[in-house]
Subunit: 252 residues, 2 copies
């Protein structure tokens, strides 16, 4: 992406009068994103709890709360519009607001995935009644997938606060954990000896697993935007291993 | 979203000197989006063909071509940055460029889904060898899902050309067709008498179906942005039936 000024290091984002003033203008936008992020992690945790505990009312609470994230994303878009229209940013200032806009969009989409998990929890409850449909190994694998996804997402939102490169790097390094957990769940669901589960139950559980993976993917997208702001490099389609190595080499 | 000017009707977007000049500045961005859209539809059709015909080389071609869409999305982001930095748009002009930015992002994500279908086609081929794993009813249902998704997506991109409200409305009206086709595929895959299919094959086919549905969802997102530009209303979280009725009432 074109910049008229050379990129500023992450630490510089808090320094300098102009930047500070701009940061204040962006404070509302950041606050909205942080609130969205907290909601997403809470929703994802609650949705998996609803699934594992076969808890209908927990699932309904997730569905009831979902519009909060949607409305926050409308607020975020409005702030992006307002900041650009009023401040007419260029160079790094424009880069920041466009990155925050993408981050808000990823947070909103991650919230959708938590809702999908809650919907599947309800469907599974309907299909299964009170019988415990989760074998121990599958339950444990789903727990690992949830932990990987939520921990990545929670850190991605924290990384936004100070455009923290090291934290973003840690998220990239966690991607194999997410991917391994996902493979494990898919593998367990793909076994033909899942005799306790009907095909429909498998379909629901797979949809949940997919949703959790996507929450982790959104965290990675957010981390990419943090890097973009902090280092001025669009790393979206770079080889991940080389990127991780390069960032380590740069002292992160 | 805040606007300093009242919204312009879609037909006004081509009129007036200032608007025309701005339209020219946006021409490159629109051209990139149209190119992305063509790629997405081509990729989705090819990926489903690879799946249905068990055609490895077709699937590999889809994977090989996928980076084209990714790179176009980087070009789109660069254009968004350039137009805002140079033109400092406000009001409806800013609304257009921010909407095009979201549209490019949806097109890129739709391209990802075509890639996922191609990956699953390869996986299915590996699992199934030369045996025909698709029962006729499932093949037909997948075809209906592909048609619904691709037809929605193709029209969403055409709607971007003139910010065409009527075409966007037609996409909203097609959503039940997408949803019905998806339910049908999920239902067929959820039947316990899918004796010809292993759980792993079911998992792959379900992932494909999910990808196709998401392509249709991205088309709906794009149509929402078209409405946003043309009518100045953010309709993302409005009740769809009421929205369709209102647009009809307004003569679309």
């Amino acid at each position: 992406m074109t910049d008229e000024n050379p990129p500023r290091a992450a630490s510089d984002l808090a320094g300098g009068h102009t930047v500070r003033r701009y940061d204040e203008e962006l404070a509302k936008l950041r606050a909205i994103i942080l609130e969205m992020g907290e909601h997403v992690v809470g929703q994802a945790r609650s949705a998996v709890m609803a699934l594992v505990d076969r808890d209908d009312s927990q699932a309904y609470r997730v569905l009831d709360r979902e519009p909060q994230i949607d409305y926050l994303s409308l607020d975020a878009d409005e702030e992006v519009f307002r900041v650009i229209a009023r401040r007419q940013p260029t160079a790094v200032d424009l880069r920041i607001v466009l990155a925050l806009s993408k981050i808000a969009s990823d947070a909103e989409r991650a919230g959708d995935k938590a809702k999908i998990v809650a919907e599947q929890a309800l469907e599974l409850k309907k299909l299964s009644g009170d019988s415990d449909y989760l074998r121990d190994d599958l339950r444990a694998a789903l727990g690992r997938l949830e932990d990987a996804a939520c921990s990545m997402f929670e850190r991605s939102i924290r990384a936004v606060v100070n455009f923290d490169v090291a934290l973003s790097l840690a998220i990239f390094e966690d991607e194999p954990r997410l991917s391994d957990a996902s493979t494990e769940v898919r593998h367990l669901l793909g076994e033909d000896d899942q005799k306790g589960l009907s095909q429909r139950q498998v379909v629901c559980l797979l949809t949940c697993a997919h949703g959790l993976v996507r929450i982790g993917n959104h965290a990675s997208n957010i981390a990419e935007q943090v890097i973009y702001v902090a280092l001025g490099q669009d790393v979206r389609y770079r080889n991940r291993e080389i990127l991780i190595e390069t960032l380590h080499h740069q002292g992160y």
